[in-house]
């Protein structure tokens, strides 16, 4: 029933409210919950043990007694400690002072090294470097071909003198160490400034392959050795990380497949066991789905909390108060949401900075990354242009916009009539949704209600969720909301819609916002 750590802790502390101070027994109960939450996030057992000991010590200290809500306070401690362990600073890539910078990739089979090579190449290109990929994975059948295709997609040249194994029966021909060395020479001769060496995937215990990786390392003397690890990995993360740390002595970690719904406790394990920083996160199949690693976000993810708080904090800072009050009044009076309001809100939103960044912070944004990636910021300008081409009367009463008015609006804003139609349609749906919300009804058909949503989060994933109470939404924040909805006896809005699961009722209690949200509601 309780999935997110903060939910569980709140339940643990239900009987404690007003006590103000935690007894040892209370803390023990808490620590058990924390332990369980971390284990479920696949943090390695020894790391969990160590971690809970620290948290216990801090929770027993004086800090907690001051807190209004001990549960929240403990979550805060856990969060801070997690960030501590994950490392505060984002670490950048070390570039060589002279000659080409050599980056070597190592990791288990299927961790995503070859794909990552392309992404890293693309990322470096965008930063103004001139990278080249070197195909030193001669072990896996067709790995070289794959790297070539990946390189082509990323627009990065590939150095592949050896064809590598083309079938499982071939004994790998060619010497990966030589290929790596030649690759660096090639880069030096052709003035590429970064060399990315893709090596064969290996099992941690495979000594022969580990030696080969060591040889490659010795041969090319890389400036960075990146260890690629799958975010889905379980308890084996410790063994693997240790083996690779001893084997190739990596300098940084890349967490791959973070676009999945694994909570990625491995990040914590690897960091705690090896002390090496996590540098990048790979978040999708496209060559651009690659980003610097943010320890603070990972902490929330491991703990299963969304990033709404940041979003609201930001809104709180930037939002014009009178405007917000006007909106709130409109909302309670159940007035229609008009294009005028829409324009006004857009202005407010713009003040908050990049739309894309804000969207990414929304609960459920992870599931819509694809759409986010495709989202063009200029789209907002276009929409605004359409609205601005309407007369003030039309903006207040969109119903009067008929065919000829639409044609005029389209002309005025330089778009086709169908785009105006689309906007009108979506606007009508949003209006309806606002009404329902104001009336305190849920938003049942949201995914279907807003067209195009089905592809984002609906589909197969949502079928079972409303059926079974025990089933969990893939998305951490959404899951918290579902649970809150279940707890308050409401039928959850069809999950799969990042928007649908949001506020059902304007009563703050059942707004289904994540725990910890209360403080923003002034309670």
């Amino acid at each position: 029933m309780f999935n997110s750590l903060s939910d569980r802790l709140t339940a643990t502390f239900k009987n404690l409210r007003g006590k103000g101070r935690l007894s040892e027994a209370d803390v023990d109960a808490t620590v058990r919950e924390i332990r369980r939450a971390l284990l479920e996030a696949d943090v390695a057992v020894p790391v969990v043990r160590e971690f809970t000991a620290i948290v216990k010590e801090r929770a027993l200290g004086a800090e907690v007694s001051e807190a209004l809500n001990p549960g929240q306070q403990v979550v805060k401690i856990v969060n801070e400690e997690l960030q501590n362990v994950l490392g505060g600073e984002t670490r950048r890539i070390n570039l060589a002072k002279s000659g080409p910078t050599v980056i070597m990739l190592a990791g288990l089979q299927g961790a995503g090294k070859t794909t990552l090579a392309g992404k890293l190449g693309k990322w470096l290109t965008d930063q103004g470097h001139k990278p080249v990929l070197v195909a030193s994975d001669l072990q896996r059948p067709n790995a070289v071909t794959q790297l070539q295709v990946v390189g082509q997609r990323a627009g990065v040249p590939v150095f592949a003198p050896e064809p590598g194994a083309t079938s499982e029966s071939d004994d790998p021909t060619g010497d990966p160490v030589k290929v790596a060395r030649d690759g660096v020479d090639f880069a030096r001769a052709k003035l590429y400034d970064v060399v990315i060496v893709d090596t064969a995937g290996r099992l941690g215990i495979d000594q022969a392959l580990m030696n080969q990786a060591r040889d490659i390392r010795d041969a090319v003397d890389p400036d960075e050795v990146l260890f690629v690890i799958d975010a889905m990995i379980g308890q084996d993360a410790v063994n693997t990380a240790k083996a690779f740390d001893e084997g190739v002595d990596f300098t940084g970690v890349v967490l791959s497949k973070l676009d999945g719904d694994a909570r990625g406790g491995a990040a914590l394990s690897v960091r705690a066991v090896t002390g090496k920083p996590i540098m990048f996160a790979s978040t999708g199949e496209g060559v651009r789905d690659f980003e610097q690693f943010h320890p603070d976000r990972m902490a929330s993810r491991i703990l299963d909390m969304g990033d709404v708080l940041t979003l609201i904090e930001q809104a709180e800072r930037q939002w014009d108060k009178t405007e917000a009050e006007r909106m709130a009044k409109k909302f309670t009076d159940q007035e229609d949401f008009t294009f005028e309001d829409f324009l006004a809100q857009m202005q407010q939103l713009r003040k908050m900075g990049s739309m894309k960044k804000m969207l990414a912070m929304m609960p459920g944004a992870a599931g819509m990354r694809e759409q986010l990636e495709n989202f063009d910021e200029r789209e907002i300008d276009r929409v605004e242009a359409i609205v601005r081409s309407m007369t003030p009367h039309e903006r207040v009463a969109p119903k009067i916009i008929n065919g000829s008015r639409r044609a005029r609006i389209a002309k005025g804003s330089g778009v086709s009539v169908s785009e105006v139609n689309q906007l009108m349609e979506r606007f009508a749906q949003a209006q309806k949704m606002m009404k329902r919300l104001a009336q305190g009804k849920g938003v049942p058909g949201m995914p279907g209600g807003i067209p195009g949503m089905g592809g984002a989060g609906g589909g197969a994933a949502k079928k079972g969720k409303s059926k079974k109470k025990s089933s969990r939404s893939g998305n951490p924040a959404k899951r918290a909301q579902e649970n809150a909805a279940l707890a308050s006896g409401q039928k959850p809005a069809a999950p799969g819609s990042a928007f649908g699961a949001q506020g059902k009722d304007l009563d703050a209690e059942s707004l289904n916002l994540p725990k910890g949200f209360e403080k923003f509601l002034g309670k």
Binding site: P141, N142, V150, I205, G234, L311, E370, G459
Partner: protein, 368 residues
């Protein structure tokens, strides 16, 4: 008032984002000229049947029977820590709470998950207390029984690869990225060839670079034809259909369909997988849907299994990369949660290192 303001802000954010972001897929100007998608090339042109290569010496793969016995050493290598460790703990002079905690930790480290670990510990605790035994042999048999109960030997673990008259058995292989689906299909083809079956491979992984080539080389070695699309990014459902169709025409016994890896939270890709299965079913029943899970996978494996079960109704699990240090304990949770048994295990990189799973031999390998 405060509450309302914040609520209004949230709602407005939602509405604005809703309007901006959720666009209907646009039809091209002038409408569609054709009923096919651009990337969906008619089967007759795009897909070609790759003829059996004139390989002079086709390999004769080893029979699947007795493979587990041969590979037992590897399994033991990965799991000795588990079985031996537990046994050592259990035969201590005094078993106090700390010992039980250590036992639990040992189980947790095998990715067994909190629930299964707790249950096993409780059961062991009860039995050790009741029987009050210190005899190592007895403790061992006790541990064996409990672990066996956990792995559940009663489940049907046979692969349904018996062809119905006129139609081949169809096996669909699914899973997330990088778990070894293509390799599993290749190895499974060898198992089936060893059983004198006519096999046909379908390379419905049209996304990953060079996946079809990889599958084709697997097939060519044992003289198994591969149906593939000539161009990248073709509709996987159409390739799968063609493969099954070709299987029917050539009277194959089994058609193995490889699919692209997909993360379970990508709804669009999961829908695509559902489509692949539905389209195949227009030609022949899908007899077996195998979910490939990597032994290193942690608790996320459960979510994977659940979502894949909803999309394509998985009937069995293939646990790969079990020759490493990972124990793959998550499959126990999956078996308990969804009733989907482990049917095959991958124990190495060699072509014949895929073995049928046998609960008793498995547990014995861990404990002995």
């Amino acid at each position: 008032m405060w509450i309302l303001i914040v609520a209004a802000v949230v709602v407005v954010l939602l509405v604005v984002f809703g309007i901006l972001l959720l666009r209907r897929p646009k039809a091209p100007r002038g409408g569609y000229t054709d009923t096919r998608d651009l990337d969906d090339v008619p089967a007759t042109e795009g897909d070609t049947l790759v003829e059996d290569r004139p390989v002079s010496t086709l390999e004769r793969p080893e029979s699947a029977r007795g493979r587990l016995a041969r590979l037992r050493g590897r399994l033991a290598k990965s799991n000795t820590m588990l079985g031996k460790g537990l046994l050592v703990l259990l035969s201590r002079e005094r078993i106090d709470q700390d010992t039980w905690d250590e036992i639990e930790d040992t189980l947790l480290m095998a990715d067994l998950g909190t629930d299964a670990s707790l249950e096993l510990v409780e059961n062991l605790k009860k039995r050790v207390r009741v029987e009050g035994t210190k005899d190592p042999a007895q403790l061992k048999s006790l541990l064996r029984e409990e672990m066996l109960a956990l792995v559940d030997p009663t489940l049907d673990r046979s692969l349904r690869t018996e062809a119905a008259p006129g139609k081949p058995a169809v096996v669909l292989v699914v899973g997330v990225n990088g778990v070894g689906k293509t390799t599993t299909v290749g190895k499974l083809a060898r198992v089936l060839v060893a059983e004198d079956k006519d096999v046909m491979l379908g390379a419905a992984d049209t996304f990953r670079a060079a996946a079809a080539d990889q599958l084709e080389t697997w097939g060519a070695r044992v003289g198994v034809p591969t149906v593939r699309s000539e161009h990248e990014g073709a509709d996987p459902a159409s390739v799968a259909f063609d493969a099954v169709k070709a299987g029917i025409d050539q009277e194959a016994d089994v058609v193995l369909v490889d699919t692209a890896g997909r993360l379970q939270n990508k709804a669009g890709l999961m829908d695509q997988l559902g489509k692949v299965k539905r389209v195949i079913e227009k030609a022949a029943e899908v007899d077996e849907v195998l979910l490939v899970i990597d032994a290193t996978t942690g608790q996320n494996g459960m979510t994977q299994a659940k979502v894949f079960a909803e999309a394509v109704d998985i009937t069995g699990i293939v646990l790969t990369k079990l020759d490493g240090t990972a124990k793959g304990g998550i499959v126990v949770a999956i078996q308990r949660g969804l009733g989907v048994p482990v049917k095959l295990i991958g124990l190495g990189e060699g072509p014949d290192d895929l073995a049928p799973f046998n609960a008793e031999q498995f547990v014995d390998a861990i404990i002995d």
